[in-house]
């Protein structure tokens, strides 16, 4: 029979829409978990350091840990987020047979890329004793691996193990540091790192117990870097954005330059880390909201499409998503603003409680205000990630990175009275931009779902 007319029928059977479901259901934890751990660790050590301000050994251990956390978090970022995506896709396809292979690939990549960095940093840049160099490098690699392994546990949604492992490891860290404090900075850092190693091995054991299949397809994770370069870049930029203001402030005239050569600005870092702890309730709230109400609305939207719903039904599911997000944003904002005002009003009291110096008051208040907006754009970024809008996510993170860097550099030039305004301004601008980007994206969700973000359409 003549005619092509209907060779087109395969069309309607084509796979639907975006990567969709659950792809980033775990991203909330991934995005905030390691950062939260860092804040708690550093804030804890800071308190100890300030109390025992005479102890140079403690200061030396503290600066190594800060360097380890900040550099490894940034450099592990691409590996961690790409692995997240890899595992999320596996979960969606109900095939986790490649997870063990991916674990070893991810760890191998981490060690291969970061061991040279750590070795160079502690043997060439810093001036440390030979033992301290060894321990610092080992400690660095433990932390770097920790970020990557944590991704696997989060993918399992085994938050209990994660929490228990991190909490008990941290307690062990502090206990061992204290116990070994007689051995100087080497003892302190060694004890602390042993605690982190404990956490790492608990997490590893848990992951390997979950996926007992032999490691295979070691390369399949590598393919994801080619597939999702935006995600890898996001992982880098996001973590760099969090740290860039600190790095810049480390060049301030007020920064501390010890014999080790590892400069830092404990007053600024301490004020900011303490201030950013105010985000914890908001993060808890939005992790809860995203995982429950928002996820329900989100799933209804995609299921309505896939189960052959009418456009009216799709639009109503779309309105429900907008409603859920607006309500979540409103309650998040209310919580964060109330908390910020409360903390700012009582900040002199908090200074005492957190053992901060009076000169840190201004930076602390700006940090608290900035954190309120930081929490908002974090929330919006996670929402964008749920819709697989990878470019929008990257854009928000670039805005924060650039603003945080540029504005902080500007405040550095303006003088100590302005310290802290950089982070505050960057958070405000990023939150506003993220709100505009998210509102526009969520508003156009059906169009994005069917056309602009639909791989089946784009590839044709």
């Amino acid at each position: 029979m003549a005619g092509v007319g209907f060779a087109l029928q395969a069309l309607s059977k084509r796979e639907t829409l975006s990567a969709g479901f659950a792809a980033f259901a775990i991203s909330a934890i991934i995005a905030v978990g390691p950062w939260l751990f860092t804040v708690i660790c550093v804030a804890g050590i800071n308190m100890a350091t300030v109390t025992n301000s005479g102890l140079t050994a403690l200061a030396e251990m503290r600066i190594v840990i800060i360097y380890n956390f900040s550099i490894s978090l940034v450099l592990s970022g691409p590996i961690a987020v790409v692995t997240t995506r890899f595992l999320a896709d596996g979960l969606y396809a109900r095939d986790m047979s490649r997870a063990p292979g991916a674990l070893f690939t991810a760890l191998g990549l981490t060690l291969a890329t970061q061991a040279p960095v750590a070795i160079y940093l502690y043997s060439q840049v810093a001036t440390l004793s030979a033992q301290m160099q060894m321990i610092a490098i080992a400690s660095y690699l433990i932390v770097a691996c920790l970020w990557v392994v944590a991704v696997f546990l989060s993918a399992l949604k085994d938050y209990v193990t994660v929490t228990v492992a991190f909490a008990s490891g941290l307690l062990l860290s502090f206990a061992l540091s204290l116990g070994l404090s007689n051995f100087g900075p080497e003892g302190l850092l060694g004890g602390f790192s042993a605690g982190l190693a404990f956490t790492l091995f608990v997490l590893l054991a848990r992951v390997l117990a979950e996926y007992p299949t032999p490691a295979s397809h070691m390369n399949s994770l590598l393919g994801y870097f080619r597939l999702y370069p935006e995600i890898a870049l996001s992982g880098l930029i996001y973590n760099a954005g969090i740290w860039v203001d600190k790095w810049i402030m480390w060049t301030a005239p007020q920064a501390v330059s010890p014999a080790s050569g590892l400069v830092s600005y404990p007053a600024y870092d301490g004020a900011m880390f303490a201030a950013q702890l105010t985000m914890v309730p908001a993060i808890a709230l939005f992790v809860y909201t995203v995982e429950t109400k928002f996820f329900a609305a989100y799933r209804t939207f995609y299921r309505t499409i896939e189960l052959h719903g009418t456009l009216a039904k799709i639009n109503s599911a779309h309105r429900e998503i907008i409603g859920t997000l607006s309500r979540a944003a409103a309650s998040l904002g209310a919580l964060q603003v109330t908390l910020a005002l409360f903390v700012i009003a009582l900040s002199p009291k908090f200074l005492v409680l957190l053992d901060l110096h009076a000169t840190q008051l201004g930076m602390f208040r700006l940090g608290v205000l900035g954190s309120a907006f930081h929490a908002i754009f974090l929330f919006l970024t996670i929402v964008l990630a749920y819709f697989d809008l990878r470019r929008s996510v990257l854009l928000v993170q670039i805005i924060f990175f650039v603003m945080n860097g540029a504005a902080t550099a500007a405040t550095l030039a303006l003088g100590p009275a302005w310290y802290g305004y950089g982070y505050f301004l960057a958070s405000v601008v990023t939150a506003s931009a993220a709100a505009l980007i998210a509102a526009s994206a969520v508003g156009r969700l059906p169009y994005l779902t069917f056309i602009a973000n639909n791989p089946a359409v784009r590839t044709r």
């Binding site: 007319g5 087109l8 052959h308």
Partner: protein, 499 residues
């Protein structure tokens, strides 16, 4: 490629030169028969294009291009007027896809012609404005339909439609589409844009074939996944497709200067689909009369012989033939009945037929020859029998006829025309056989008997067929008819230019 326009541009959908088959062979013969004309070919294919071709192009083909109706060029993301394009097209598009009037088709062409080369997937299907057009067309009549199915249907439909409107056309004096559908639509576009004439030749009736196909398309209705298992939901999408194909046919008919088909029965359907009666013409398929008419009829005394010439498959209804032979054998015990044709295509059916022959005690009367050279059998066949349940213009009736053998045939396709001549045949050659009802062994046996038992009538019918085939179904004559068709179209055009 030639700088001069080709004499004829053939527009072929899903056939030549990629696929082998009846229409493709016919096209190949047409090009070779018109040796002194140059041809440009446009092959319309689904996406992706076939990687191999079944025919080598004859030397008088000077231009050949392939257009995929399954994909569009990407086009530019933004150009002047790109944002307004979908909205500009939408009103005419909606009306056009339902009614198929050439006026809307012309307005759509007028909008698209200036942006050809820039318009494509981006501006026509993927832009936010295209999305708005899609949703408003959905709201306009499909509100209760599954949106995701509508979405893919809309994209597939518009991809096909726009691929025709955006395709590059070779220059030619006459555009000849070998079907309606996308091919007819492209011919209509060529005619509208260049002012050159277009001609349509239909073997099967495209719209009718599509209608059957769409009605049977289960993928448009999947009760397992439809939230409301309502016939009307997928019915709406099926109607969208059928209306679109009807629209394309209507446009092709309206733009064409001549519309030909193989036989009168098809014209009914063409008229029903909106073909203007004054444009309709019949050009049947021709056969090599010289080859068959030189076969000498055997005169030596032998058993009376009837034959079914065809593949042993259900559509030929060989079982009815066997039953008819059983009845005939009661009156003509020495009847020699043949089944000439391959029996390996439907082995189960062929097996059933052979078992039936045994059961009915016909082993001495009925022979399955398998695949044979027809020329070697025709000299001793007295009567050709065709029991098919569906045919168009069966060549075996013509081939037997050219050899002076009459036919008993069921009333399918144009068999009545072939045996009795078209109404008002001039000169009237008389009956070339007998038409019977379908699946009626008694009637078929009676028809066979009435001819076999009256040698004079048998002889007269054979002669009538021979003369009719020689005059009306002679390939040499048919080739001239196509030549006339082209000449006539060209003068039609010069008349238009003069006017």
């Amino acid at each position: 490629m030639s700088d001069r326009p080709a004499d004829i541009c053939l527009i072929l959908e899903g056939t030549y030169p990629y696929i082998s088959g009846g229409v493709s062979s016919w096209t190949h013969d047409l090009i070779r028969a018109q040796k002194d004309l140059t041809f440009a070919l446009v092959s319309l294919v689904a996406d992706p294009a076939p990687s191999s071709q079944a025919f080598e192009l004859p030397p008088n083909v000077v231009d050949w291009r392939t257009v995929s109706v399954g994909s569009l060029p990407e086009g530019k993301t933004k150009f002047s007027g790109s944002r307004d394009l979908p909205m500009l097209l939408a009103p005419a598009l909606s009306i056009y896809l339902q009614q198929g009037r050439i006026s809307e088709f012309k307005s759509l062409l007028k909008i698209l012609a200036p942006v050809r080369g820039r318009a494509g997937t981006h501006s026509l299907l993927n832009s936010p404005e295209a999305w708005q057009t899609l949703t408003s067309m959905y709201e306009g009549g499909f509100k209760a339909t599954s949106f995701i199915d509508y979405f893919w249907t809309w994209r597939a439909l518009l991809t096909g439609f726009y691929s025709i409107l955006l395709a590059q056309l070779p220059e030619a004096r006459v555009y000849h589409a070998i079907s309606t559908g996308y091919a007819g639509l492209l011919a209509a576009r060529a005619s509208v844009e260049t002012g050159r004439p277009s001609v349509i030749t239909e073997h099967g009736i495209y719209t009718n074939e599509r209608r059957i196909e769409i009605a049977l398309a289960e993928w448009l209705h999947d009760p397992g996944t439809l939230s409301l298992g309502d016939e009307s939901e997928s019915g709406g999408l099926k109607a969208l497709w059928t209306n679109a194909f009807s629209a394309y046919s209507r446009t092709a008919y309206e733009a064409a200067s001549r519309i030909t088909t193989l036989y009168r029965g098809n014209q009914e359907m063409q008229r029903r689909d909106g073909a203007p009666p004054q444009k309709l013409a019949i050009i049947p398929n021709g056969i090599d009369v010289a080859r068959f008419s030189k076969i000498q009829r055997s005169t030596r005394s032998r058993r009376p012989c009837v034959a079914l010439i065809g593949r042993v498959v259900p559509i030929k209804d060989v079982k009815t033939y066997i039953r008819a032979v059983r009845i005939l054998a009661d009156s003509v015990p020495d009847i020699d009945a043949l089944v000439l044709g391959p029996d390996d295509e439907d082995i189960v059916y062929a097996g059933e037929c052979k078992a039936m022959v045994q059961q009915l005690g016909l082993a001495k009367n009925l022979t399955f020859t398998g695949r044979v050279k027809l020329d070697e059998f025709l000299h001793r066949i007295d009567l050709n029998v065709l029991t098919s349940v569906s045919e168009a213009q069966p060549l075996v009736v013509l081939e037997a006829g050219a050899a002076g053998i009459p036919t008993v045939s069921t009333d399918v396709g144009c068999c009545r025309e072939l045996l009795s001549g078209i109404a008002g045949e001039e000169p009237a050659f008389g009956e070339g056989g007998i038409i019977t009802p379908l699946s009626n062994p008694t009637a078929i046996a009676a028809a066979m008997l009435s001819l076999l038992s009256h040698p004079k009538r048998l002889e007269a019918a054979g002669q009538a067929m021979k003369r009719r085939v020689n005059l009306f179904y002679n390939k040499l004559v048919i080739d001239k008819k196509y030549r006339q068709l082209y000449d006539e179209a060209a003068t039609h055009n010069s008349r238009l230019e003069a006017a």
